[in-house]
Amino acid sequence: MGKQEKIEKSDMPLTALREGEIGIVTSIKSGHGRGYGRGIGFERRLMDMGLTPGTEVVVVKSALFHGPIEVSVRGSRLALGRGIAERIFVVKKSV
């Protein structure tokens, strides 16, 4: 397929949200189109864990020094490495 998902202007990476803020997933940017491990597409893995477009994500915690972030998705608690979280694009949900 090889084409990138569109990224709208109002989108921001998940890492731009502060703790406690909620984002709605718009797209996941794939890894430079290069082979990722042995075909383990991380974007598919993320979706299998529930991060599909339109899903609400709560940023629960962000570790110091650009460490991983903890998010809450569909009632489960996930730890995401910073590099991965930067590729998940969301729109901020205003409360």
Binding site: G50, T52, P68, R74, L78, G81, G83
Partner: protein, 645 residues
Amino acid sequence: MSKRKITIALAGNANVGKSVIFNHLTGLHQHIGNWPGKTVERAEGTLHFRSYTIDIIDLPGIYSLSTYSLEEMISRKYIVVERPDLVINVVDASVLERNLFFTLQLIELGTPMVIALNQLDMAKKKGIKIDVEKLEKLLGVPVVPTVAIKGIGIFQLLEKAIEIIEKGQETRRIEVRYGEEVEERIAKLARMIEGIQFWYPPRYAAIKLLEGDEEIERTINRINPQITYTAKKLANELENVYGHFCATIITSERYGIAGCIAREVQKLVPPIKPTKEERLHALTTHKILGYPIMAFLLLLMFYSIFTFGNYTSELLRNFFYNWEFLFADFFGIGVVGKLVWGGIIEGIISGITIAIPYIIPFYFILYFLEDSGYLSRIAFLMDNAMHKIGLHGKAFIPLLLGYGCNVPACLGCRIMETERERLLAAFVTTLVPCAARTVIIFGLVGQFMGIQWALMLYIFNLVVIFVLGRLAFKILPGEPTALIMEMSDYRLPHLKTVVKQTWSRLAEFIKIAFPLIIVGSFVIKLTEVLGLLEPIAASFSFITVMWLGLPAVTGITLIFGVLRKELTLIMLAILLGTTNFAQVLTPIQMIVFTIVIMFYIPCIATIAALVKEFGLKKALLMTVFEIAFAIILGGVTLRVLTLII
């Protein structure tokens, strides 16, 4: 009357209590091995129930039935090709939506199944109430509520399973239906697939083709390339309509259905105060407090293992050596007696005095931490640090194991997602000073030069690990993957399951390490009896004496160190005729000797584990590299220290 044989597979997400159910069902009759040719664990057990002999297979914990990971591929292949009589889908009631996403895929696969709605107690704590009957009706699949940790519902689960196998499953189960645009194209493809002979149900294969599933695509392409061509065309059409990848569209819709069902059957009354588990989670992953807590727990863990280990090891050794005189009476103290005692019996004794006192408590605590959920918090805390050497947080776990023993640590690298990361993690792990090396660091440098020097060596070791890890990360081709990990709720581990996990790990360790330790002991003893040890040691005295500045006898100790590292110190004492090393070694010699020991070779059992996991070539490469590295580093240290001191 002979019993009928049936097979039941357990499938579900990770951390849903699958292995607890497995243990309840199979009791002591279980066998844990590997899937043929794969480094993925396969747990199998048998159970006699009524007129049946039931074979139970515990499939790996997965989130989807795609083929993105080895575990998923193995599970799907098993269900489709081996066709178990029934699949028990273990579902975590406290994370219903995500679990149902997996359930829907099993339903699509058309396999006969029962759902074990597990961890109902945890769901209740979180204020989730589930209408079991409604869930059963919506899915069209029998649902049995269970609290596996307390053994609740296991019998009913088994009865239900047998009932379905005997009567056959009703066919009124839910059909997972996607949006119209998608359905239209699924139907078109399914019709084409119906015409060919294929393992998978046509509708399932059609959906997977649209999702771009490589395995199914490859197989169908061989039978009829026209179908895969059409699938690509249809997928493209969908992508143009929705503006997303086709896989994304289908996954989204499937999750949508799972979400609908979950909302329909569960009532949410979130507790006002955060639960005990949640507060514990917040504390143990706290940005600042999390680290000292982790450090404290880990130190406590190692301290108790070593205290227990040293005491028990001594006790066992005394016990065994009390029998030596009896043995000498029987075999005599001639060559044969020496070979049998020193070669074989001592090999066995040393194996036992390591395995029981150190490995057992180590595994026990480790599994306790894993099943409680704490290991995933450690991975979260350490993710940042591990990224510096191209690994992610999960790699800290084998690294940690390495401080106990490198053998289980190398096997533990299986938790990494890609071959590259497994290799990288294993390499770094073999550099970690295990319990045996700790004995030398503290017994030589710590005792005769002071504890601060011993600790400095540990810090030096960490620096080396960091530098070499970083280098290896740069050299090995491929991109690093990142952490994607669930942190499931804290819970009290099921003790019997932890004990069984410890036992099966111990058995694995014995199988890998014992034969080599015994054969190795025998060979070295034989060399000694034949009087070849000294000539061999002398032949590389240009390294030990000239380059490393050590007494010539250390050459012999280094040979013994291949078997077990702590032997080097024991041999050194024997050969130098004293345990007061300060009389025979200068402080610099002690440090050089310890550094060489720390890095020079993974012991023979570790090499065996490496061969098992990565093949002979890579294992030898690592071994040779580490020998060369240790010798160079030792010599450089000698010269640098001589200059400054």
